[in-house]
């Protein structure tokens, strides 16, 4: 018969009871093992979106997919961007775990190492295992930070789909080809031409990984472009291309760490509220489609945590310089956002406890089971049960 010593009994009983009566985050469980297959995808509503148009009561109709997903995840009601309210610094803060105050336009890399570097170095991950699929050209320096122990050898592949699209449309307009931009085939041909000329022209960083793998990467990207051009909903925006490329990268390389930075909602700077709302709804739809891919792809299903959050907010309607058009007032509408965590090991629920953008990198590092360096952010205990 199996017997227990008193010490063993107390230990097991204590743990068993603790599971029922003590919240998981108080049990201070260690970070997961780097050898695990946990994956993390960070999805940002880049460009900036306000609570008012998303999870505030009047905004819920703009985000039907997130609303559908929210009950199955952990919703952080208060996720604060306490840093510089520019795009590059905001996303760099999310990725480094430290508030960044570097050049707003990507002329400087983040001042501290990124999550990509901690992950690749810590887990010994290869060059196709960390990707940043973003929009703004300034994000070309987002793949690695300035830390001397890390840097480029451990950085992410940085893909900027909208820049490729931009180059292609510019070329088509310049060449005045038959049908011009009205022909989707013209657009596809031009996208392929630019891609074949090299990634650097459109600000991408894709690591050289040997001839065979390079060919594989190129074919993957071309396939994504073809899917995009022939998509049944006739997609045309940069964010839609971002989605198609992100999905293709997931299918071909199954990276364990990805940033997907959507951006269309920054159209708010044009001053059209309706275009801004349409962009939010589109981002919601694309985020939902990304989640669908996570659920249907065996490399991701049940082993992936998806963290969805706005990069920053936008100015409030009252007493601001010009309301939703900008994001520079520093008012609560600019800083106070939300985060939705979904997927593997994420307990259902919601919390009022304020978390910060810099907590994302620390949390993701813990989920990936890698040690991070010095970070201002702290792991979100709600996600580390």
């Amino acid at each position: 018969m199996f017997t227990l010593t008193k010490r063993q009994f107390v230990k097991l009983a204590g743990l068993s009871i603790a599971n029922r009566v003590v919240p998981g985050y108080l049990r201070a469980e260690p970070a997961r093992d780097a050898s695990s297959s946990n994956k993390v995808i960070i999805v940002t509503f880049g460009g900036g979106v306000r609570y008012a148009e998303t999870f505030a009561p009047d905004g819920l109709h703009n985000i039907p997919r997130l609303m559908e997903l929210r009950p199955g995840g952990q919703f952080f009601k208060s996720c604060v961007n306490a840093g510089v309210l520019s795009h590059f610094n905001s996303t760099a803060s999310i990725l480094t775990g430290n508030w960044q105050r570097v050049d707003d336009f990507g002329f400087q890399p983040p001042a501290s190492p990124t999550l990509f570097e901690y992950y690749r170095k810590g887990a010994g991950a290869g060059p196709t295992d960390a990707w940043a699929i973003a929009t703004n050209k300034s994000f070309s320096t987002m793949g690695w930070g300035a830390g001397s122990d890390f840097g480029q050898p451990y950085g992410a592949n940085v893909i900027l789909p909208k820049q490729l699209l931009l180059e292609a449309t510019q070329d088509i307009v310049k060449k005045r080809t038959d049908q011009g931009l009205a022909s989707r085939e013209n657009v596809l041909r031009q996208l392929e031409n630019i891609l074949n000329e090299g990634y650097e022209g459109v600000g991408w960083t894709v690591f050289k990984a040997g001839r065979q793998l390079d060919k594989h990467i190129r074919e993957t990207l071309i396939h994504a472009l073809t899917e995009y051009i022939n998509g049944p909903e006739a997609p045309t925006s940069g964010d839609e291309l971002t989605f198609f490329i992100a999905r293709e990268v997931m299918r071909e390389f199954s990276p364990r760490l990805m940033l997907v930075n959507f951006w269309d909602m920054d159209v708010a700077h044009w001053g059209s509220y309706s275009l801004y709302l349409q962009a939010i709804t589109k981002t919601d739809r694309l985020t939902g489609m990304l989640w669908d891919e996570v659920q249907s792809n065996p490399h991701y299903k049940d082993k992936t945590t998806v963290l969805v959050l706005p990069e920053l907010g936008r100015d409030g309607d009252v007493n601001a310089a010009n309301g939703f058009l900008n994001h520079r007032s520093g008012d609560p509408s600019c800083r106070n956002m939300w985060m939705l965590a979904l997927g593997a090991g994420v307990p259902k629920g919601e919390t009022d406890r304020p978390v910060h953008h810099v907590d994302v990198a620390a949390t993701a590092a813990a989920l990936l089971g890698v040690k991070s360096g010095e970070m201002a952010g702290r792991p979100m205990r709600e996600l580390l049960l």
Binding site: R101, V173, A182, H269, G271, D317, N322
Partner: protein
């Protein structure tokens, strides 16, 4: 970098000579200095504001001024303001960058708000004593695909919906409202009549199209359509500079574009140096004003309120075009040329856009003492049988119980302004 002494009013120059600016926190005095450096291009209201502000500070005792600016000095210490980071009277892009990226920027902003929170009521009290009736008319285009019950929803609770009798000919709707007579009878408008008897820049007509041009007379007339040539030149230049990588970032680009003034051959507005600079600044202070007609109208109106404080303002919105697939990525390209797909209007999108802009415009007026308690706002949808009136209780429309004719509305407005 040596600071250049701008040409200022004698009064301001006297305060500088007396050393007033040197006794103020450097970020405050530098900001004011920067704002005043193109003195000749400021509106009369802006010049009066600076004269009143520095007169107030000069009249106040030094201990009182020190107390007033104490939070700002504390914030400057936190920011790390010193002669190197902030040379005296300098407010360039370097200082803007220094502020934006400084971890204590929020504290500095809060301190600025605190200081102005104490100064503004004193200056406002003086303005309020000299108050006069003012009028704002905001006209939405006839193409808006909704009824008046779905209009002005964000601000409707601030005023009263007033029933309007439709004119026989819808083309006469705006002329009857603004002139009291049908288009064929060609009468002077409220703005035109008011401008004829008031100081320059006291009456404005801002519009997306150009059909209110004939109602402006001597009033300032700002039209997105009439700036077409200038806008396209600016867009081409921005496109060229961004493409050629000559420019480091948007702020540097904006600095470069400061020299691209509108020419007389491009628009009549160029004949007035103040308005030429106003137009340049309005078109270049955000992408949207170059690209979208109603964004231009909203921002030009907001800037006119902030800077000129007009007594009569007529705002005419238009219908925005739909963005075209792919070519809308090329934000500085002419959409009509860059994509063969026919241009289509977006009336529903326009409706959604304007609902926000009504609120922003009303809010902007109400920020200033000039407009509080003495301004009538009429929000009008062309061809609609209802308008929204906001204003003091003694404005006749707010007591109306039956539907009114447009000439009656016009007559009430004229009387309110003292034109009848």
């Amino acid at each position: 970098m040596a600071s250049i002494q701008p040409k200022l009013s004698p009064a301001i120059q006297t305060y500088i000579d007396k050393g007033l600016f040197d006794r103020l926190p450097v970020s405050f005095s530098a900001f004011c200095f920067d704002q005043m450096k193109d003195w000749d291009l400021l509106f009369p209201n802006e010049r009066r504001y600076f004269e009143r502000l520095f007169d107030l500070l000069d009249r106040s005792g030094q201990p009182e001024v020190d107390r007033l600016f104490e939070p700002m000095r504390a914030a400057e210490t936190q920011l790390g303001v010193n002669e190197k980071t902030w040379p005296k009277r300098q407010f360039t892009l370097d200082q803007v960058d220094f502020l934006n990226r400084n971890p204590h920027y929020p504290e500095w902003r809060a301190a600025v708000s605190t200081v102005f929170g104490k100064i503004d009521p004193l200056l406002d009290a003086e303005i309020a004593r000299k108050g006069k009736p003012r009028l704002v008319v905001v006209i939405s285009p006839a193409d808006i695909p909704t009824g008046p019950d779905r209009m002005w929803l964000r601000i409707a609770n601030r005023g009263k919906r007033v029933a309007i009798q439709q004119p026989e000919n819808v083309e006469d709707f705006v002329p009857l409202l603004l002139t009291g007579l049908a288009h064929s009878q060609s009468a002077p408008s409220l703005a035109e009549t008011y401008a004829g008897g008031s100081a320059p820049y006291d009456a404005w007509v801002v519009e997306a199209g150009d059909r209110l041009a004939g109602t402006a007379g001597k009033a300032v007339h700002c039209s997105y359509t009439r700036l077409d040539t200038y806008r396209k030149r600016l867009m081409t230049e921005v496109n060229r500079m961004v493409g050629s990588a000559e420019i480091r970032g948007p702020r540097q680009l904006s600095e470069h574009l400061k020299h691209m003034k509108v020419t007389a051959s491009e628009a009549d507005i160029a004949r007035d140096a103040i308005m030429a600079e106003f137009t340049r600044a309005t078109l270049l202070s955000g992408n949207g004003t170059l690209l979208i007609n109603n964004t231009f109208v909203e921002w030009a109106t907001v800037q006119a309120i902030r800077r000129a404080r007009p007594s009569v303002t007529v705002v005419g919105f238009g219908v925005r075009n739909k963005v075209k697939p792919f070519s809308s990525l090329l934000i500085y390209a002419d959409q009509a040329e860059s994509n063969p797909i026919p241009t289509q209007t977006d009336t529903l999108g326009t409706y959604v856009d304007l609902e926000v802009f009504y609120q922003y415009i009303l809010q902007e007026f109400e920020k200033y003492a000039e407009y509080r308690r003495n301004t009538v706002y009429l929000f009008v949808g062309e061809g609609m049988d209802e308008l929204l009136a906001i204003g003091p209780a003694d404005f006749p429309l707010l007591q109306a119980s039956a539907s009114l004719t447009l000439p009656t509305v016009h007559a009430d407005c004229a009387k309110w302004l003292g034109l009848a």
